[in-house]
Symmetry: C2
Subunit: 227 residues, 2 copies
């Protein structure tokens, strides 16, 4: 039973990777760098983006692709930034997909202003499991973990923490009010992804926002993740 299931999943992931490579080629041809942002629901991805993009990312024209099961709440929140924002919904007749995949991104390509941007920021569906399994044609992956979620998350969702080039530890302003041990978190993270870059941030206090903006600005200079 499980063997068959694994086979089916492998086939699906293989097809996904093929489409992801096609996306990547299209992004490359247009000189667009793509970052895929993942997290659990409510880790603060959108608020971080608002803070980072508010004052622009040095030298880069940025566009955003918002992935959500339903609605356009996040896209609406970014409207005041006056940058191109596209909403992609994953619900199509059933409960909704819990992640973006390469084919969804492919279907959105015609609506993206690739000629007018240098950096495309994709905000994935809030989920710590499946988004890590589906490449979309991105150059880099960043994941956000909030201190309110607990310091055991790297051990519980190892693939997610392993699949990214940057781990952002967010809502640092809540640290005094929650049972979260930063050393313990970093120790667990070290077990699943030794040496990964970690940034500690708070959209409330501004902690780490400048560093995150610099990380975004550096993305076109490195092609990190294989498509």
């Amino acid at each position: 039973m499980h063997r068959v299931k694994v086979r089916v999943v492998e086939d699906a992931l293989d097809a996904n990777n093929t489409i992801a490579r096609a996306n990547r080629d299209d992004f490359d041809r247009n000189g667009v760098t793509v970052v895929n942002i993942m997290s659990a629901p409510g880790a603060g991805k959108t608020t971080l983006l608002e803070r980072v993009l508010r004052d622009g990312v040095e030298g880069l024209r940025v566009g955003v692709l918002e992935g959500d099961v339903q609605g356009s709440l996040d896209a609406d929140r970014l409207a005041h930034l006056h940058i191109p924002v596209t909403q992609l919904n994953t619900d199509s007749g059933f409960g909704g997909e819990c992640h973006l995949d390469a084919n969804m991104i492919r279907s959105a390509l015609p609506t993206l202003p690739l000629a007018d941007i240098d950096l495309l920021v994709v905000e994935n569906v809030g989920n710590l499991v499946c988004p890590a399994e589906f490449r979309i044609g991105e150059d880099a992956r960043m994941m956000v973990s909030s201190v309110a979620e607990g310091d055991d998350k790297p051990l519980k969702y190892p693939l997610m923490f392993r699949a990214c080039e940057l781990v952002v530890l967010n809502k640092m302003d809540l640290l005094p009010h929650v049972d979260f041990d930063v050393d313990r978190f970093r120790h667990f993270l070290d077990q699943v992804h030794p040496g990964v870059t970690v940034l500690e941030t708070s959209a409330r206090t501004g902690e780490g926002i400048e560093e995150l903006r610099r990380w975004f600005a550096s993305l076109p200079d490195r092609a990190v993740a294989p498509a």
Copy 2:
């Protein structure tokens, strides 16, 4: 493309429901009531369970089934309660399933001490999308949302908030430190699931714990959700 996908998903959900009904029959035969607890990662399900089960649930022998992608951190945390705790991992050769399904529960049935418990508490994988789509043979479903996740979650994950009989709004102790408007949350919840029972809780202060314990205690007296 999407039509085919929906068809495949419908077939999978149909097969799942068939197995869920078989599970439900087995639970009924053994006089076991089953509650399926769902939430985003880090919403506080395990800590709530620790608080509620620590002093027992009136008149009921309780067992727990912990669902996680990997590891047994949560099961280990409950070990001190001296009740039967079973760990179920969803990773089997690939990245891991983002939810429990009826067949996984079925495979765990032989390891569950059904004759010795009255209430089986199933802690699902942390995820606000797919767990809501897969019935496991439960009598009731409860979902936990933490105030740290933001008050827009009912609109972003409507199926999850619609699929449960109880919404627990957790980490109420963090309310002074986060941008969360309880009235807004309840207003949004009312749009997707009018009239659903809501409990406000905090494992830290003990707020709502007694009410939650009473809800658990009342479960055998009502067979709420269809299998």
